[in-house]
Symmetry: C2
């Protein structure tokens, strides 16, 4: 069933007149059209019975048609009132709009107020959960793209390890890795590449800079690529020179915790069990306070999507879900270590999409 049809079924089922979809990731999911509209209005409008349309800046109309969108495209100029065009296009298709589904997690308050002004009697429904749920289970084509994105992430780590050398800066390695992975077929990076070294690894969201790598450093790579619109996300931590005992102990604890979490994954277990499998090992080793984030997040068109793998999420895993497993320990006095894989829930277990080895790599 097409992705648009699933939304239509939702509208029929809930007796909602139409859905206005404005989140670019959902627009891509529904139309295959990808654009960053900045402050301009870009939307897909879907009806219970009528054909859907895309509304976009007039200068993008030909791009929408070029990707094969078979329905109407409404273009407006920068000097037009986009919402006037939207209102007219809706009322050209249905006589009355009484209930509209919107993405409450994406639509901004000012646009919500504009809709309220244009349609004073309009009621609103939330479409976020329906869309997130539709995107939660990946189909064969999506899994193929996610596998390929994961392979490219593995390759990026391989390149990154080869770049490590005394005196090189973090940013120099970022550049070499990004260049190599794009030459190999990545459309772009899925998020800003993190390659940090030494005690900077103790910040889970550290920013690469001009720090020069020294013997004895742990170096943490957290990166991902986009392949045909789908994201990967991998983390590996490696040692430049022989590691001190305290670092080794942290590394082995994270590695054991990460594997324990992977080993829990199969259809029917709860998301929280994945988190808790790793968390209990880290807690028992005495590092509980140094693991300040959930163990993972869903992965697909967005680099963060559902399911959220937290110690409180009672969602049962299902075949076709894809998410990260990424425990970490961050000791500001010693080092940070995080190990992250992308995993797919299979019919009877798990497929780990990222395959770069997890034995501690010691680079001389």
């Amino acid at each position: 069933m097409s992705n648009l049809k699933k939304v239509q079924d939702f509208l029929v089922d809930r007796q909602i007149d139409a859905a206005l979809i404005t989140n670019p990731d959902n627009i891509f999911y529904l139309s295959n059209f990808r654009s960053d509209p900045h402050e301009r209005l870009l939307g897909v409008v879907i009806f219970k019975e009528k054909e859907p349309f895309i509304i976009c800046p007039s200068m993008e109309v030909s791009d929408v048609k070029a990707i094969g969108w078979p329905h109407d495209v409404i273009g407006y100029k920068d000097t037009d009132n986009a919402f006037e065009f939207l209102e007219k296009a809706i009322l050209d298709r249905i006589s009355e709009l009484t209930l509209l589904a919107i993405e409450k997690e994406h639509l901004t308050v000012d646009r919500f107020e504009i809709l309220q002004e244009r349609f004073p009697a309009l009621l609103f429904a939330k479409s976020d959960d329906m869309l997130a749920k539709n995107r939660l289970i990946k189909d064969v084509r999506e899994i193929e793209y996610l596998r390929k994105a994961a392979q490219l992430a593995d390759y990026a780590i391989e390149v990154g390890c080869g770049e490590i050398a005394e005196g090189k800066t973090e940013l120099e390695i970022v550049q070499a890795v990004e260049q190599a992975v794009k030459q190999k077929g990545a459309e772009k990076m899925a998020f800003e590449t993190i390659i940090i070294s030494g005690k900077k690894t103790a910040s889970p969201h550290g920013i690469p800079g001009d720090r020069r790598i020294e013997k004895g450093d742990f170096i943490l790579f957290d990166l991902g690529v986009v392949y045909k619109g789908y994201c990967s996300d991998i983390t590996r931590t490696v040692s430049f020179g022989e590691p001190a005992e305290a670092k080794l102990k942290i590394y082995e604890t994270v590695k054991k915790a990460q594997q324990a979490a992977i080993d829990t994954v199969r259809p029917g277990i709860l998301a929280k069990e994945v988190d808790l499998a790793a968390r209990s090992i880290i807690d028992e080793a005495g590092y509980g306070e140094l693991f300040p984030h959930r163990i993972g997040h869903g992965l697909g068109i967005s680099v963060h999507e559902y399911p959220s793998i937290t110690e409180h999420n009672n969602l049962p895993l299902e075949e076709g879900m894809v998410f990260t497993i990424e425990p970490g320990i961050y000791d500001p006095e010693i080092t940070g270590v995080r190990i992250e894989d992308d995993v797919l829930v299979t019919k009877d277990g798990v497929e780990v999409l990222t395959k770069f080895p997890k034995e501690l790599k010691i680079i001389e």
Copy 2:
């Protein structure tokens, strides 16, 4: 006066208890802290009289402190309810919250509803315009960063021209340009680099791909970099081999229109006059229908910010404003051409920040 103080003055002036700032670009403007929070809550809360605080994921608390934020930082874990922490932190500082300024152009409907539930009697004010207005006039330090970002954009065009050769793909040139400009000091690209060739140039938002460059193509570069948090944005169109007459005519029309627009810029003229100066030349040359966008947009921490330079904007220009001037003509049968500079309104005229030559460059 510090940027935080300007917000405080606004709150005092309007008798607003507090402001919740969640747009990452505004957070950077107010705190110098830059982070992409994805679905997590990241905010700066500013009060009429009390000290401001930042609320962020606990794993980023040390990053906020490391950049020198001298006020409180409230961290929450992934399993915490971030809005519970927000509510408590506000009510720890003021006994009652009755009027809160929010960014209506950024805050999502679901977060707005959460705030309404937590503070049932709360009224909301809009802070977008105040913040946009504060950011509209650039100070000396900001102008220095914008100049440097523009220089790096010039350099990127120079590198790009040097890469043009028979059979090279658009994406290969993108990679070479991005690598070179990052090695030269750009933090990252300001947006996804556009390098498109042949008839693809007729799409204002075209996407680089595997098309191989051929003799006779026009090649359009639209790119920008971030330097110390500030963006540049340049477009140049060059010819690979001798251009056909029809292409040359389009090029010269755009060039003349762009220069005419630049020549209007000085304090006191209206934003629309800049647009109309170029538009009338393009109209007179018979290409009016093929120029489907406004002439430019403000530039600073965001790659699109105020002022918006449209044919309807009656805003008088002021010293310290920075924006793009980028007319284009897009003929799907012949070629697209766009020429874009970043300009600063000076005391008595204009400074063009991007300086790459605009004579049609013919690459043999």
